[in-house]
């Protein structure tokens, strides 16, 4: 018990040291300061997510719309999980890409595609078939059906995939540091190499806090862009159709 208490105390001390390292303004400035690393980290994350969405969303939505390629869309997630991002980083590092930013970005894009694609596909497939049939009966077809009916109903699930991918990309971008890439991970590896525990812990706290903040922001965003929720609010007015909230509950429940 005494041992456990001692380690508990050490943990608190290490965390406090890390926090005071972060509180020191000097550590934030300069080309290797927390400020620069934070900007790098966010930029890499944003760039990777934009590219991953641009690749995965059209494919996932289109396959879901057609109802084909289900095995591919589901299995890409399973295979994606099995491929270590560190291995991808190491392999890309030894290609002509080398130390450029694109090594990290490509590795993160490959990492982010599976959850986005799978969720987009599943989201489209889980859209109430009755709603799709009704829209068909009203004369909607192809792109109109996709944009007007399937996409709005699938948004919670699609956003769930983007949210998951974003949080994981923020966390995984840290790994770029092991090949001397950009981002906050560099603070951790620098503290590690110099046996500077406050710097190491400070960097770890910084990355953890960033990941949690992004998770919170993405949860808010997921709620904000859900058209069914907005429709739900409008539906509470007496002059609106009251049928919508039922659909809303089903769809949100599946997310």
């Amino acid at each position: 018990m005494a041992h456990a208490l001692a380690t508990g105390g050490e943990l608190v001390n290490a965390l406090l040291d890390g926090l005071s390292w972060l509180a020191d303004g000097d550590n934030w400035s300069g080309p290797t300061g927390v400020g620069t690393r934070l900007v790098e980290h966010l930029w890499i994350t944003l760039l990777s997510m934009v590219i991953a969405c641009a690749v995965a969303l059209p494919v996932g939505l289109w396959l879901g719309h057609l109802g084909r390629g289900g095995a591919l869309a589901i299995n890409i997630s399973n295979v994606g999980r099995a491929v270590p991002t560190f291995a991808i980083l190491a392999i890309l590092y030894m290609t002509p890409l080398g130390l450029s930013m694109w090594t990290t970005v490509i590795a993160l894009v490959l990492f982010a595609i599976p959850p986005i694609l799978t969720n987009a596909y599943v989201g489209m497939r889980e859209v109430d078939r009755d709603a799709v049939e009704a829209a068909r009966g009203m004369g909607m077809a192809g792109g109109q059906l996709l944009r007007g009916v399937e996409l709005p109903l699938a948004i919670p699930m699609i956003m769930g995939g983007i949210r998951l991918a974003t949080v994981q990309v923020v966390a995984t971008a840290t790994l770029a540091a092991v090949i001397s890439g950009p981002g906050l991970g560099r603070i951790i590896t620098s503290g590690f190499n110099r046996q500077d525990v406050p710097e190491l812990v400070g960097g770890a706290i910084m990355v953890g806090a960033l990941a949690l903040a992004v998770e919170g922001l993405m949860a808010l965003l997921q709620r904000a862009v859900d058209p069914m929720r907005r429709a739900g609010r409008r539906a509470s007015r007496p002059d609106r159709d009251q049928g919508m909230p039922l659909v809303q509950e089903e769809v949100v429940g599946s997310a």
Partner: protein, 234 residues
């Protein structure tokens, strides 16, 4: 370590090692022992992490079901843990567990909890209430109810979670190379530093193969444990 690098062999013979090819049978032949050691470490760390993670997750899930107000706290904490980058977590553990396999195992156990607690809870929640009531009516106490009725019925969800957790753990173990206990990750890290193509690619491919093999093994185990449901979805 540099002694075994590709440059050393280059002076002796002209083979795929000297050319630094990505795919090289000579590498596998000459470094077989090293590869087996790394693979063994990788498997040990993964199995330990998933086994401990499963035991802890089972306890947490049962507690979460018994004590309603703890449910949100347990789920929330394990989700928050998952957002922590592995590099940061291993580094944070370092002052306490040192450069050892313990650091990696503790970190991986924490990560596996997110998936496992959720999966076990989903499975237990899905047990029909009337099944539970019949068992209680037949005189099952809560431990026997859990062991003989609830857990067997929860197996599909539990195994789904176990497979995801295992595959993720195999991949994440590579990051353990930061404390020198990353199994195949050690080879990847060393190969990357010395620009040894075959070492990096072979270790990476082995890692994926190991993950997929573990997945298949668990699938087989699931079918064996649930002979009443041969048609298990993959």
């Amino acid at each position: 370590m540099a002694l075994f690098g590709p440059a050393h062999d280059a002076t002796l013979t002209d083979n795929c090692l000297a050319r630094n090819d990505w795919v090289c049978g000579e590498y596998v032949r000459t470094r077989w022992d090293e590869i087996l050691d790394a693979l063994g470490q990788h498997i040990t760390i993964t199995v330990l992490s998933v086994a401990i993670g499963f035991a802890v997750a089972l306890v947490l899930a049962v507690v979460a079901r018994q004590v309603q107000w703890l449910r949100g706290a347990i789920l929330g904490t394990s989700t928050a843990l998952y957002t922590l980058p592995s590099l940061a977590l291993f580094s944070l553990l370092l002052p306490f567990t040192g450069i050892s396999a313990t650091t990696v195992v503790v970190g991986l156990v924490l990560y596996s909890l997110t998936i496992l607690v959720r999966g076990i809870l989903t499975g237990l929640d899905a047990v029909p209430a009337d099944v539970r009531e019949s068992a209680v009516g037949m005189g099952y106490d809560s431990l026997r109810l859990l062991r003989k009725v609830e857990l067997p019925l929860a197996l599909p969800a539990v195994f789904a979670a176990l497979r995801v957790a295992t595959v993720s753990t195999v991949a994440l173990t590579t990051v353990g190379m930061i404390v020198n206990h990353g199994g195949l990750g050690n080879l990847i890290s060393r190969g990357q530093r010395s620009n040894f193509h075959a070492e990096v690619l072979t270790a990476s491919v082995l890692c994926v193969v190991l993950a997929l093999a573990a997945d298949l093994l668990l699938l087989a185990l699931q079918r064996w444990l649930m002979p009443w449901r041969r048609a298990v979805s993959s």
